[in-house]
Symmetry: C2
Subunit: 349 residues, 2 copies
């Protein structure tokens, strides 16, 4: 490793208020970066990126307007950050050694970076048989969101009727398995018949439906929830949320994890939900959550999930795209109905 | 009092799925009722009605469809029931004596009735200086709803920014005063300049606006909530709720008490709320509630409110309409923007 590296990185060239981000908005550039010892401040690490987490919330960081998810916007010309698995090249922090694998909560979408060690969430121990990509999936952002949605906010009882939208996505696949572990009856919606089979066969969902073919959501929910819905983990918003509100049971809980059907629209163009009055009559609790507010629970989450992963009671699934060049395409793939499981970009092995 | 009385009563002649109920839907009839001792079963009371509570939720009991508020529908030909102050004429329950004034949770909208004593919520002691009509207002359904919305679900801190819609209505006037007792900054919306003055001068609101003249709700909320909204007690739903969601602070709470702007429409015609994504980013908790689920807290509520009423720290206001004939007109008056305070029908003195 020389002191100076040619470093590829994705930066914000222009904001994208609506529609799908393109290469007009996010661009790849190559810059020189010094990894020389005197370029690394105390309590910092020089790292190389192995894996980058590709998550829907990133869409909310480049709209140029602060609404909806209310996430801080990346500035123009700024390099994106996301959860990342990185390897230490040089260390100016005695807690970390060269070669350590780390989970970085603010990983630059770049091949190399110099990071404050305060950004490191945990060391990764590869001896436990868990795949590196799962640290970004079942043990990363989407797994944590699923755990918060089911274990903390939804809190279904054994036998409860649980509905999960975007069921084959990174959050949905974990959430369904967590609800099954709790003894619930779990139904998912997803975008193809193949994915319906997948959530039943691989993730243990009791049943599911393809929202593209069963597009009368109200009829679909009548069919799959003859006894109503007790917990709905909402990942999509819009028309599906409206349909769910016609099928909720008393005191149903609706943790709002995200609304992937709505991200690419300005708010005035989003689907209006007309039946919020049902929330009154059914005394529903609808609650939004962002993982950043629950980081104090991350340790509890990891402890809970790791055992189930090792026992095979939670089966993860990742789509690993090779090369940092694939980052934009990977981001957009989450918004297409072909996506399955956790999307990860492998930068290095 | 003879054994047989001519009894006027309001019954459901036809359901009213949308629009304002008329004399086609609710009709007054006169029937003969025996109050003879052998007509009164054990643990029942013959009572005469003094005051009837007129509440928005009644609108939801005669739509003929179970959605929205999901309240049991009155059957066709059935006499309506509501909270009522009644006086005992004959008693077959040793706990109650002739002349006792009682709060009846299922008071028939009739001059006389024979009621199971299990329907009686409490005895009314007139020696404490509290007006009888306040037992249906600040100490009745709307007061209880206000207490639940502010004290139990909204739970604002001193200094919190609290917004209350329908602020001069029966729930709003109590809720604003409860939030002021908690040390909050309280702003209300209401339907006329006179009512804005009223909520400031009589109910202690810090400020308020007339939604008919300041009809750009987003601009109004920017003006009255430069620091955002921490708690919104929603009594109206629709466009005001949508506007509020553009002004909520992190972890804002929105107890949904009712949606008076939406009751007279079928659900597919109701206003769609397009910015629910803000609930995610701001991690808002929106929760519907119905008083029937909290009746175990009624005693706590009464204890809390009675003292403030006697000290004059909660100032009630009622509109008392005379004669059971005025019931339909009284019900519809709640849905007009001229309504102020608690509407009560005085059947007898």
């Amino acid at each position: 490793m020389g002191d100076l590296v040619e470093n590829k990185e994705w930066y914000v060239a222009a904001y994208c208020p609506e529609g799908v981000p393109t290469s007009d908005h996010l661009k790849l550039r190559t810059v020189s970066l010094s990894l020389a010892s005197d370029s690394i401040p105390d309590n910092h690490l020089a790292v190389e990126t192995l894996l980058l987490s590709v998550d829907p919330f990133l869409r909310g960081t480049i709209t140029g307007t602060v609404e909806g998810l209310f996430i801080s916007q990346f500035q123009l010309d700024q390099v994106l950050t996301t959860f990342a698995v990185v390897r230490v090249i040089r260390s100016k922090d005695s807690k970390y050694s060269v070669g350590d694998l780390l989970l970085n909560g603010y990983g630059l979408v770049a091949e190399y970076s110099i990071v404050p060690s305060s950004h490191i969430i945990r060391k990764i121990d590869t001896s436990n048989g868990i795949s590196l990509s799962d640290y970004l999936g079942s043990l990363g952002v989407p797994g944590f969101a699923a755990w918060l949605g089911i274990e903390v906010l939804g809190d279904p009882k054994p036998g409860s009727n649980v509905f999960i939208s975007a069921a084959s996505g990174a959050v949905g696949m974990n959430a369904g398995q967590l609800a099954k572990i709790r003894g619930c009856r779990v139904i998912g919606s997803t975008g193809s018949d193949d994915k319906v089979n997948l959530i039943k066969e691989q993730f243990g969902y009791d049943d599911g439906f393809n929202y593209n073919t069963e597009s009368d959501f109200d009829a679909a929910l009548s069919k799959y929830f003859p006894d109503g819905i007790d917990v709905y983990l909402d990942n999509v918003g819009g028309k599906m949320l409206e349909a769910v509100l016609n099928h909720v049971n008393m005191n149903a809980r609706i943790p709002l994890c995200g609304m992937i059907s709505q991200y690419n629209k300005v708010w005035t163009e989003r689907d209006g939900v007309r039946n919020l009055l049902n929330i009154v009559g059914k005394e529903v609790r609808m609650e939004g959550f962002m993982i950043k507010s629950y980081l104090h629970r991350f340790g509890d989450f990891v402890k809970y999930i790791e055992g189930y992963l090792q026992e095979g009671k939670i089966k993860p699934k990742s789509k690993i795209n090779i090369g940092i060049e694939s980052f934009l395409e990977s981001l957009n793939s989450i918004f297409s109905s072909s996506n399955i499981g956790k999307v990860v970009v492998q930068v290095k092995t």
